[in-house]
Symmetry: C2
Subunit: 354 residues, 2 copies
DNA sequence: GTTTTATGGTTAAACGTTTAAGCATAACTA
DNA sequence: TAGTTATGCTTAAACGTTTAACCATAAAAC
């Protein structure tokens, strides 16, 4: 009796949030019964359930996520690591991922690596520290050392990679067919009559860019075009570097008549240089980017590019995580889902003679 | 003895994560001592601290954030709500916010409203459910009803708004001086010789857009230019709507000789229309955007715009939250921090005669 | 030589849930 | 009527920390 009174006092004093205990007290049942009622446990009568839910509403009860996560050993939080969010691709992936996961009661924590390996490691620590139930990531350009990702695996937490992934890690991966996309692009340029096709590619150590490079090389071969070293350039694919690499190409004795850039931002830099030098795009030099960022349709001339299926990638990444979380045995099942990309032909590669 | 054995067994079986209990067992001290040692409590000897930290490292101990958050009643998580992340402004704000908060042991959860009021409410629920210690938000365009934000205040959780904020809510706010920015822009256009300056503005019910509109009107007055209704248009400021509103302006009997658009994306749409109709920008019609998105320097002609101090806003928002979290009394102190913005003049508003 | 004060811990409760196990009571079965 | 089963709860422990309160022991003070 005394105990109850004092409890009541403090409750009034602090104006604390309502807990299941408060609900239990009102109805004179046990907290356990309340918990079960709120979760529609079959062992609780409909009458009690209804009463509990009513009182919960009256008291403005909000479940304490921390407590339930601690007890259940899962946080219902999924960590996401992306190089940056201010790209349409990543932000669209995230949006679709979120949609799927929210429906299943998961929330996501987004972190950005800013293409920095160090930041990426810090992000992983942050997410592990926050007890996420899984991590969905796209790796920074810089990342070569994978030991930090091994750390995730060793904790038994599902890890799913998308876009920028690494085969060697042996984890699930969702991405587009980069190799095939390069074929599409080269084929398209050949159809436009181009004969000296250059490629400003990404870092070779990143799998997707390596695949695009391989696709470029093989496609040249397929169309009996010679592969020239000076036409294949490695870049960090920023706008600034796109400018630099384009200037480099323009200095060649034999200029290319088409440039395929592995990223839209770098393609934009290249386009700026071409415009500044009053080179006719596409008739003198055709240009194709990669990623289908919104600005590709905004610049002059509009920029051909490859749509990367961001929505589908986000959806599949989320579903893959959910698949993992269903089974309690954490088998990293090495399931690679490769989607077909779509070439969006715009002005920068559509020659007028066609 | 038996108990210990069984405990050891399960530990081997599940390969569970190490806890402070495990560390305590190794050193034959109490878990409480371990906790204190890890937090450098003065009541623990240096020797013990060192030993504890060594064992912690050996066992690959990671503190269980959930447990500590539950016990301490705070999650060290800050929720962030932005209309979208794929804008340079918001992504830069977030990045700077994160930097400041990470240093103080806080992590952030980013959510996007996609300019939808409904999604925004869902985000607030999500964040409250996740037991964040504070919320930093920029409101969706759609948002008019503020009851959901009141919900945050009523929970006693610090709420800080930036960029898109509402005076009426009486909470901390960080933003730029929109009113003054409009003055700067109009003054600049007047200096370029423009006499019929139009404004494609945002929704009047959003404070920042309203301030820009007021600034525009007052600046016209200051320069003795008449305010004409047909030159002041309300828009949702998407690229598409920028196109539509520009077309509307071009249909006027007396066209404007300058257009000030309250957002870069809409300004881009306007620019597209002008380019398509081969109208000389800036000589026939000068154009100024708002936000200094990276693409403003990429389009042809490059687009004058206003830099919104994203880094500083992010930093200040974070610091303001930290200020709140220091005092346990949650006083919403109504502290408005207004920064000066910077006009970046590019080709679209620099007339050749100047 | 007794009292005071540091020093360096220990104990136990608490945070709010969830859940395995237990236990009345009622209802049905044979 | 005794035995079984179903219904609808209750009890108590557990999740991993933190922290207030307590307690030895040793050193210092008087």
């Amino acid at each position: 009796m005394l105990k109850r009174l004092s409890k009541y006092k403090t409750k009034l004093g602090n104006k604390k949030k309502a807990t299941i205990k408060d609900i239990a007290n009102v109805l004179n049942i046990s907290p356990a019964a309340v918990s079960k009622a709120l979760h529609d446990d079959s062992r609780i009568s409909e009458k009690t359930k209804k009463a509990v839910k009513q009182v919960a509403k009256n008291l403005n009860y909000q479940p304490n996520h921390l407590a339930s996560a601690l007890r259940k050993g899962k946080s219902n939080l999924v960590g996401v690591i992306v190089p940056r969010t201010n790209s349409n691709f990543f932000s669209s992936v995230i949006q679709n991922m979120e949609e799927v996961l929210n429906r299943k009661g998961y929330n996501i924590i987004i972190t950005q690596s800013n293409e920095s390996y160090k930041k990426e490691c810090a992000n992983i620590d942050t997410l592990l520290f926050t007890q996420v139930d899984g991590i969905i990531a796209s790796m920074a350009n810089e990342t070569v050392d994978l030991s930090y990702y091994e750390k995730i695996k060793s904790k038994g937490i599902p890890l799913i990679l998308f876009d920028r992934g690494e085969n060697d890690l042996n984890v699930d991966y969702i991405g587009i067919n980069d190799y095939e996309s390069s074929h599409m692009i080269v084929e398209h340029l050949v159809n436009q009559g181009c004969k000296r096709i250059a490629h400003i590619g990404g870092y070779k150590h990143t799998r997707i860019y390596n695949n695009r490079i391989r696709g470029y090389i093989d496609a040249l071969g397929k169309h009996h075009l010679p592969l020239e070293n000076e036409l294949l350039i490695e870049s960090n694919l920023t706008t600034e570097d796109g400018r630099i690499k384009m200037q480099q190409l323009l200095k060649l004795k034999k200029r290319p008549d088409a440039v395929y850039v592995a990223g839209d931002y770098a393609a934009l830099g290249a386009l700026q240089v071409l415009n500044e030098q009053h080179i006719d795009v596409p008739n003198d030099i055709a240009l194709v980017g990669f990623g289908d960022e919104p600005f590709t349709g905004m610049v002059t001339p509009t920029l051909s590019s490859v749509n990367q299926q961001s929505s589908e990638i986000g959806r599949l990444a989320a579903l893959t995580f959910l698949e993992h979380s269903k089974k309690d045995v954490v088998t990293q099942s090495l399931n690679k889902q490769i989607l077909d990309a779509e070439l969006i032909v715009r002005e920068s590669s559509k020659k007028s003679k066609n």
